[in-house]
Symmetry: T
Subunit: 151 residues, 12 copies
């Protein structure tokens, strides 16, 4: 049974409280609950982590080495400049999927550039909370096709 680390980047803890037009009305807890349900159906084990701290996200990614087989990450605002998180994803070496609630290509120009995507398996964005579900399914499919890393 594969274990997946789910990482929520900065400000995602505010989900559901503000800007529902942009991000929907679900809270982060709602999303995690939904993910947990989907994971249960697909025989995956999930660990959740949210932080507004770039360093804490890197620490957590590193801690996944040896304990998790894949990463589902919404880097939030860090998507666009955190080369340090990119390097962490690359160094940890676990298959990762990048997800976004909104369609980053339909927003401000600076949101169209992502520094983290190049070291991920794939990306999903624009489906609200369901982006996470799709990302998780994609990660599972990838793990099955390639075999679990580190085993």
């Amino acid at each position: 049974m594969a274990r997946v680390l789910v990482i929520h980047g900065p400000n995602l803890n505010l989900l559901g409280m503000k800007e529902p037009d942009l991000y929907g009305s679900d809270s982060l807890e709602d999303i995690n609950r939904l993910l947990a349900e989907v994971a249960r159906q697909h025989g995956l084990e999930l660990e959740f982590f949210q932080s507004n701290h770039e360093g804490a996200i890197i620490d957590r990614l590193q801690a996944a080495m040896g304990s998790a087989q894949g990463i589902l990450i919404n880097p939030g605002g860090f998507t666009h400049y955190s080369i340090a998180i990119r390097d962490a994803l690359s160094a940890v070496g676990l298959p990762a999927v990048e997800v976004h609630l909104s369609n980053i290509h339909a927003r401000e120009e600076f949101r169209r550039h992502t520094v983290t995507a190049a070291v991920c398996v794939g990306q999903v964005g624009g489906f609200g909370r369901y982006s996470y579900v799709l990302g998780l399914l994609g990660l599972k499919e990838h793990l099955e096709r390639k075999g679990l890393p580190g085993r």
Copy 2:
């Protein structure tokens, strides 16, 4: 029962014959068969269309008005410059999901820019043929959440 138009852009008819490292070993027919199976499970009806002609893709998108409720599109090379397809997606007004077999952010610089994404609901890329499955599920979820257009 919602009907979804699946559009495959230029050169996708060659899938499975060439460059398996980049695009996998599935043929386009394999992908369509997989999609049809998934659609059947989720109560969706699919129509398939592949063309190497930008204009034919626009014609087909326009023809979907009134007959389909959503669009699943892999614009292939047109992703990066076809403002005409972008305008077609926008004018037709059906919810569309953009999918890519490979991770466009891990390839040549010019592939990181997409002109079509901004007028789609969302995007999925990097999961090989499974990108299509995820895109279809995302589209279905969107249709259920927003209600079917044109009804």
Copy 3:
């Protein structure tokens, strides 16, 4: 009596059905009828052509050599990247006028750049269907001032 080829680029066949805020509520047929009436008053003969295919537009432009004396063209989305249509306009050598329904300078950044304009006599944009009328009058004036080509 001069003959003018009127070319409507991609998605203009949808006029009146969608996005009236942007393009007005006239159908393409309404525009053609209006143009025909204006042409009749000014002693011009019109031929109409609409296509979503870049290649078909080039074919039609080439076919105008010897049969038409001027071109009225709304290249639609092709305005911004079709060097092939630009080359066709240049090779055919007939005086051409570029028209746009909307004001391309008040829209997305990428719509402000036109590759076709440099090989046209002039441009008209922003007046809705009336852009065509103005473009036709401008073309007529040009033909009268310079004399008809190819005679």
Copy 4:
């Protein structure tokens, strides 16, 4: 009966004296006479203003509030950098049409960018003095379609 303010930007007072290849052999007076004739036929009243002073053009635009219903402007060289004139057009709020004698897309690179066009109704360029006539007709059509402002 609508009143239209016609503004000629810097160096247009030299028309007909120099560079006929680029701008034609008509003097500014010829253009104004032609415009007056067209206006008379269409029941428009015209006021003419030419200045080489950016500030004087802004003053005149502001003075049009309450007295004119539309603006026909050839900003000349100011087209490419005068944000102050752009702001004046925007603040005055009257429908304006930008015209150019030559085809700005077929000249130096820096002439292809216009800062004023985005706050105008539309643009006409490349038809020599006839650009003004077309611009005036376009403005009249706009005023009729939208109704006169400030009444």
Copy 5:
């Protein structure tokens, strides 16, 4: 008692008549009255000048040499390109504060670049008419801290 020259750039004389969403409903006279009241409380003497003419603003800045000890300036649209006003501010050598009614960083891209700011003491923007008050207080504080120039 220090004397401050208050300069309002192009189109600011229209304040209160147009675009209240962007610039508020105060007229320029309201702003000047408010500033005069604040100046009186802080022992400052004010001179007001508004012009739509870049050259007139430069003339007025130069005339301030010897008669004023500081400058409060809203260069309006000139902010973004008038190197001549920048040079005037620099040559005159009086401490100057740049103010803007709106937040220039939340508007069009071209408004984010200011050529005049680099030769000013500081900047205030986004507070409507109150930007002027804050700018004046900042200028006074600067004059007190550095001593009055030219004495």
Copy 6:
């Protein structure tokens, strides 16, 4: 009585110890004392927070929801790249004012671009410690004009 959260970004805790030419000789405590005095006079309550950690600043901004009515922030070096702080300011939704000790337009090129300013009410910069005072007054004025948020 409105409560305002005052946030000092990275390295501002060193104020007064180093680089007095650039930032003046006041310590951060001096600035806070000055601000407290100004706040007392204007019936505002202040909370101070300084951190070198982007994440800690985001945490603190989020904690202000429900407890503060406005934000006075000097993002320091984060001004130029922290999209995460920008997103926090935007998500928290409280009126914020950005202040800088120095004139960022008179320094290195990369300091002229600010990613946080677009989601603030306004900006003040270049007045040393007095930038904070002006920013606070501007924030108070904004709160009075718009009414306090979240009440």
Copy 7:
């Protein structure tokens, strides 16, 4: 005996009729006849294809798989933007040589960038119709040195 597919892009069917200064006075038929003669001398078999349709060129390239051993292509205006043709050349996998009649480095700036060249064996340009002859010889040499593909 190797078979080579010769592809002429958009507007090349007009050769000899227009713009002889730029492209010479030979018709496309003249060029094909010359090529056929050269091919005969070198034991090559040629197939000719001209189209103004990007999609038709892609279709034809794909059809060459299994029937031809090399490609000689003048993509015309498509040279500068057709990523779809680039992808076709890459997917088909046959050695291709890109030729141009004129020297693209001595023309407009936008003609200096080619998106198709990177997936070709080599390039020849600037020799008028003789560019084709040189390209064919270069392709033959390449086939002999590397051995024929797909055999």
Copy 8:
């Protein structure tokens, strides 16, 4: 005897009063006196004009048609953006020489670009007041070599 119009752009009337490090300690009158002396020695007649108004400079340039045979111009800050002055120089058609007191290539980046130089005969810069003398000699040499215009 040729007549030369000498134009001094914005802020040059302040010469000698401010920034001697950058522009030297000569006043504008000193420069004019020096030029007059040089002109006398070389049989030239000079007219002087200084203005801070772009429009006034254009007016004066136009007035030189028919009365002067050459132009010596230091456009000051207008050098870098006044396309209107460039157009005036071009329309007036008299040989012009651009001079600068300082070396514009050794100052801020934005001063290295000149929009007016392309329509002048030549340029001289970096020699302080002596730049004017050299420019005048260069203009005289040009007039002698080419013959006086307009005679």
Copy 9:
């Protein structure tokens, strides 16, 4: 005896575990042990600090004021965007040397730009763990030549 603070940026704690092709097979502990040995030979005292947190690195840099005489820093991914660390290095004012394990000029384009280098004494990169040794020797040499700061 001079004390040097050695700072290892994000992900450097993973050294030796991953990507040996890029960074070598030494662990961070190996590097520190090597450095300690070199320091002992050269009469330097070292303090080591590694963090994935930008803020923690800034805190640690600030804490070095008064206790260390020099800084040896590998900012890892922060090299390319952390203006906050740059400001910390600048504010702390101790001589710093920037080191990189790999040759940043032979990797991705975005790694060629460093924001921190401009405020360091010098840089060493491309020698694997030996970059640290060279950087330490360079720092020592600098301290001896300039004298120890803060004494």
Copy 10:
């Protein structure tokens, strides 16, 4: 009998010794021998010159005036920046053909830009040593079509 100067730029003397993957295994002597054979067959006389010195190449190009009728040049690394060689080719005025062993469009970004190509008749690249042969044939054809220069 026409004489052609063959110029090999920097590092081409190392051909065959290094990097055979990139440039093939032929030595420069092999290439020259091949070229001499081809020249003999086509009635051309060749002179060979190789240098790593930009100035020596310019000297040699100049010396060709009056003695040679055409130039075949592989400028090597100078291709991308030597405006001096470009100027020499232009000043000498002999028809020149630029050749490259490798396909410069399939290598590093900076190799895609050539400053010398614009003043040559044409270009050939990507065929290894055979690029030279093709270039020579192209030059001969050009000489025959245009007539020999300088006779």
Copy 11:
């Protein structure tokens, strides 16, 4: 009596033989003879040097230390990229004047950027051979005003 080193860059030895439209019909010897005459009148001693070799120019510049008091240089094509010559001018430390025969601002875009100008006293361009004369006079004036270096 001051000695001035006159340096002519690459291809200037061809003057008068080619491209008279661009550079005039004078030979380099004519220019030197003219300069010698002017120098004699002004009590200057000249040394002439022409080379197509960047390194030879640097060698000659260095040799001027101690023997010459000023430099008159036309760097030719090196103007636009030779940072090595710029560094030589800067290291040698003698006042230098840059001259150009043609107006570099009226030619190709890449000729508008000069890397050498920033370390010169001033520049003269556009006056044909007379640019040298003006440059020499400017250099003399500079030497007199500042005093001779190295004495």
Copy 12:
């Protein structure tokens, strides 16, 4: 015993004579003497070469094939544009280390880009003459770790 070729680029022969603030007061001979001493201690044999000629540096690099095992190079101004030297370093294939006396990241913008670094083992800069010593030690370490090339 490994032999290392030490190359000093243009203007480095002037070291110690000029600009000591930037480059220190050591002469090139001092640096070579220091290097020789260090080499002796580490069992390395050195050959020294300085030239202001790009081509001579390339010649010397090529001559090192077979005689030297490593290269220590300060390309001086060539660092920023000499693709020919880059190609020489790459073709010669010996491990090379790039050194700079000054910190190129703390100088003009154009000095931050190096074209030669990408083909070197590593870089050292900012330590004055000691940069060479560090570079030599780094090169030695590299040779020991990888084994000597060409043996």
